[in-house]
Symmetry: C2
Subunit: 762 residues, 2 copies
Amino acid sequence: MKQYLKHHEWHIIEEGLNPHYNQVSESVFSLGNGRMGQRANFEEDYSGETLQGSYVAGVYYPDKTRVGWWKNGYPEYFAKVLNAPSWIEIKIKIGDLVLDLAKCKVESFKRVLDMKQGLLQRIFTATLSDGKKVSVDAKRFCSMADGEIGAIRYEITALNFSAPITLTLPINADVVNKDSNYDEKFWEEVTKAAEPGWAIVNAATKKTNFHVCTGMQYDIQSAGKSIKGKVSTHVREKYADNVIETDLKENIPLTIYKYVAILSSENHAKDKLVATCKSKLKEAVTSGFEKLFSDHAKIWAHKWEECDITIDGDVAAQQGIRFNIFQLTQTYTGEDERLNIGPKGFTGEKYGGSTYWDTEAYCLPFFLSTAEPKVARNLLVYRYKHLGKAIENAKKLGFKEGAAFYPFVTMNGEECHNEWEITFEEIHRTSAMAYAMRDYIDYTGDREYLSEFGLEVLIGIARFWNQRVNWSDNKKKYVILGVTGPNEYENNVNNNWYTNYLGAWTLRFAMESADYVKQSNPTRYNEIITKTNFKDTEETERWKHIVENMYYPYDADRKVILQQDGFLDKELIPVKDLNPADRPLNQKWSWDRILRSCYIKQADVLQGIFLFEDDFDLETIRRNFDFYEPLTVHESSLSPCVHVILASKIGYKEQAYEFYLRTARLDLDDYNNDTEEGCHITSMAGTWMSLVKGFGGMRVRNGQLHFNPFIPDQWKSYSFRLEFRDRVIIVKVSKDKIDTVLEHGEPLEVIMNGKPVMLKSK
Amino acid sequence: MKQYLKHHEWHIIEEGLNPHYNQVSESVFSLGNGRMGQRANFEEDYSGETLQGSYVAGVYYPDKTRVGWWKNGYPEYFAKVLNAPSWIEIKIKIGDLVLDLAKCKVESFKRVLDMKQGLLQRIFTATLSDGKKVSVDAKRFCSMADGEIGAIRYEITALNFSAPITLTLPINADVVNKDSNYDEKFWEEVTKAAEPGWAIVNAATKKTNFHVCTGMQYDIQSAGKSIKGKVSTHVREKYADNVIETDLKENIPLTIYKYVAILSSENHAKDKLVATCKSKLKEAVTSGFEKLFSDHAKIWAHKWEECDITIDGDVAAQQGIRFNIFQLTQTYTGEDERLNIGPKGFTGEKYGGSTYWDTEAYCLPFFLSTAEPKVARNLLVYRYKHLGKAIENAKKLGFKEGAAFYPFVTMNGEECHNEWEITFEEIHRTSAMAYAMRDYIDYTGDREYLSEFGLEVLIGIARFWNQRVNWSDNKKKYVILGVTGPNEYENNVNNNWYTNYLGAWTLRFAMESADYVKQSNPTRYNEIITKTNFKDTEETERWKHIVENMYYPYDADRKVILQQDGFLDKELIPVKDLNPADRPLNQKWSWDRILRSCYIKQADVLQGIFLFEDDFDLETIRRNFDFYEPLTVHESSLSPCVHVILASKIGYKEQAYEFYLRTARLDLDDYNNDTEEGCHITSMAGTWMSLVKGFGGMRVRNGQLHFNPFIPDQWKSYSFRLEFRDRVIIVKVSKDKIDTVLEHGEPLEVIMNGKPVMLKSK
């Protein structure tokens, strides 16, 4: 845990250069716009610790799988998030000395992420080894108004000298991925060019042959006037630049504007990339930094109107929740149904893949509530488009007849992960796709989604469960053997309750959905049964039998759900009695010891209760919470949010607040000592849920919004905004009252603390 | 399955060149002498499919671990069997054409392994592309009389021409391991030298810095007289040779004798290696091929006197059993307690490591019965010497106070394996060390071994089990959670019966052994308790409690032992109902499917019954056999032998014979389609057990030999020899009678079919 960042309502602020935390800051201060993103690397040279990272959405490399012992069914490759061509560099040489903060005396240093406007700024004063002192004010943004544009304004001032200055402005595709399996470089050159004023590198990924064309054009001003300087251009493999020699005069700021366009073949014909890049650069230069920025900031202002949460009386909490919302918003804008929400977003390369079940289980509610419905819908359509691959994946593992098994980690619908206990056995994830549909339909009322896309997916998933269960003669029930639940600190267990419950629910939901489509849209229904070869009566008869005869592990003495068969054979010693030196277990204990212990990474019984809350009475929820919470080590960033929500529900307010603290500032305070690899983007949506569904008690039941808010003692008030069926609703919770305002849209009845309230716009 | 080798009582014969099976033959026809070994690669060039392999016992390379996802506790490296410097090469150029069977018209080709004398011979006639026809008769052996000597006699005759011939005789350390994790070469040069007449390369392994000095001296004869030819020498990195140019005259054989000495720093001071190598070469040349060979063949004759098994009426079976005995005998001679029995012996590099639990569980009985007691004893002492490492290994995984956890795979006592479900969870192997002691003591009567070495090991292992069990409040028993049994088609299961039984037995055996040493040798006992800090009363009290309260899964309805908790939740469909296209499962099914199926790689319940046979009545054995046998796919080469023994015991004679066939010619007929990687050396000892303990019904009970022989219908008679407590006993079983002969030693009472018989020497 590190607490070196300053608290502020809208800004993330680092004061003073912290070389050891630099990679953490590079993650935290990352920028993105849904299409591309960039870690907060310095523009000028830096020889200290750094993880260079630039990312272009949808562009990946299939890195050859590396395993110790191959298992049948493992994927051939792991689709890696690519470190894309570097565009931010502005290398500075003053006289003969390179400006490199690792080699300067740094008098002052401030890094600020203005979340309100999506702007990264760095201001510093540094003295070079020859005594020359400069100040720099560097700003940049990735345009929300045009996802292919980035812009930098880099102002340098000589404070105690005048001297020649050499500026190098490159585009560099000769970059590496730190986590390359075999130390391979992933980019190849297509073309490159540099003329005075601009440079372009068009690079292609090996194997996948995505083309990414990155170009820059610049403007240099001194005392407000453009200057030329002496320009030379250089190209080498995968690299092009302009080098400008001019004079830096004491106290006269030199301002470099670097305009960048990053275009991918995902959005442009390959043979048009270079030309389009050039024309976009020209437009950008014509608009200028200020205009580009104001267009960008306008979009942010609008985004915040949709999704802001305010917390009064706790600046750290206010900053934390806004940081989570900011990162989620710049990671996924919902405009492109081919994209998804990577676990590190645009803040790091770790974990590769773009899509985990995190999207459906954690992120969807955020996007449902803070953006127009098409954003969440696109997340569903993304999986619909991967249905064919999910069926292939199931087939590869021995399933038949159109069973769909969605991958654990994917880019293009194919499985990437290669640990058998996860890849093959963490099967609950395939039903996250079904649950997300239910969530989407409940929230938006768009039940027609089932006809258009949903039912096909549900039939595939239901078929998977139908084949994955087996009848136990011993138990006279259907069982599900050999699985890993969301609690990944148990592997290859039998009858993980969460998995069994979700599997049976999926079969039921698929049957109901089939009935619905059959009734509401018989033509489309017939299309679907033809396309999927769905023998509805026959298939659903067995589904029904499974639903009615599924086995659920339960302890009648304690009246608690059992996480899995045999759970009670463990020694149940609460986490609080563990030696703190043993924490976190995943860094201190060998894997077998974790597996046979009672300790839970994230409590999947509680996760299941959270997802199907209405199936359980309050007493049951409390009993299970009291049993599992003390055994949970929360070593998944996805864990605490569920505990906030359930603790809130059963009135454990202090505990709810404690869990909230763990999730809200996870990256800002580098709680798990791993933020240097990137931020935990998907768990940020869990933080949002913690507040809205936890403290705010927001639920949708039968198409109606419910709230049961409480306010933590530590706060004066908080408010959140929801987009809900063409309305915008603001709920403000203070110590003594709850204000619910319909900011926009037709009157709406909501249920506040169990009572109907009619909201009308002002 | 391939059946291209000819049946013969003493020879393995390949007739005709089979390029596609060449790597299989290279494995099968391998030679070794306990100190070194060599695959049956050709002496001359061969551009077809081949796996070059030369191995020196005890010399290994720690190859950096390769995994997809690191788990705490994984070893840093995997100790690999090294492909050692190549010494067999005799490259032939006739005119300008290289002799390469892949590029010739091969008129005739015969490869013979004479198992009686340990000689590999190859005879062929081939026509080069220019029409020149040659015949070759090549013989070689790895001397059993001097483990550092190899010799080749290579005779080539021009059949239809006379022409210049160029012979290249290299020593080449520039070799690779096929299974190198990162395509690294493992050898570095120390020195090299070549003078007319000889060449030497002294090479060192990277990291481990073993030095292996390989040298050759030669003699070339034409028409029985030594000739010189025009000699040039060449050296390059890790390589030295002699090139001899002479004339090959029509129908006058040219005979090349290549004498090789291979010395390792395991047996010589590093600075003496080259000098010793030279003097050994000189001696070898002086002795000459015939003398070296007759010394070698004498040792083989003596070995066969100790261990031969004859089968009358079934040449394939006779060849099979002798092949197994031959390979075992040339893999391990028991002269060096630092060595062990690698799973591939000297026939391939696969699986690395030299030592698995195979040694104790499968190989020990063979060496106990066919060699003097010190051979088996050295296998035990090997583990005693690794006790410190086993304690370290346990500590690394969180065990305390001198608990000893022997590695699953090792070279030097450190764990090499890196699959959590095996490395951390296949814990039964640590007790194989205890069982081997019992086996050794039962057989030899050498109970003093416990005082000298055994008890220290037993205390360490017992402490492991003591900490590895946990009390289940639920079951009111001790349980063992999260293990993999010998049946590796189940991972991370709870209460694997075999593991629980073996663990409890170990605790009991450790207590009895401690008592014995305490009574019989109090001084030594005090030394041991001081050295190990053994608090005997206190520690054994808890051990006793565990032994008395261990949980054993059992099905009261079927009255069968359960392989593990939850086994009966599986669908129990016998193997015979599987689609043959699904076999072998490990090549056809994904891992999860195997895990949740009922199919058993090797039946560990039956393995446990085999090890502790006297604890079970015949009816119990039969019931469990009837339950588990139909579910067993025998996809471990170690599986069928146990089934032979139990089937024999319960009178299932035909089944016993069927299982025997699976194990006896496993490599000769390439049953599992993997012999190209090397032979299954350790399972060969299982074949021996199948015959002696299965058909022969041999057991030792209370220091006395028991026999309950039967003869398969397909055989006329069979006989086996046993060394037992300074006697040599021959048991010959015919259709109508059993002859038991004491060939050597004091009179001995044995129990034949339940009745005492006094054996006296003739």
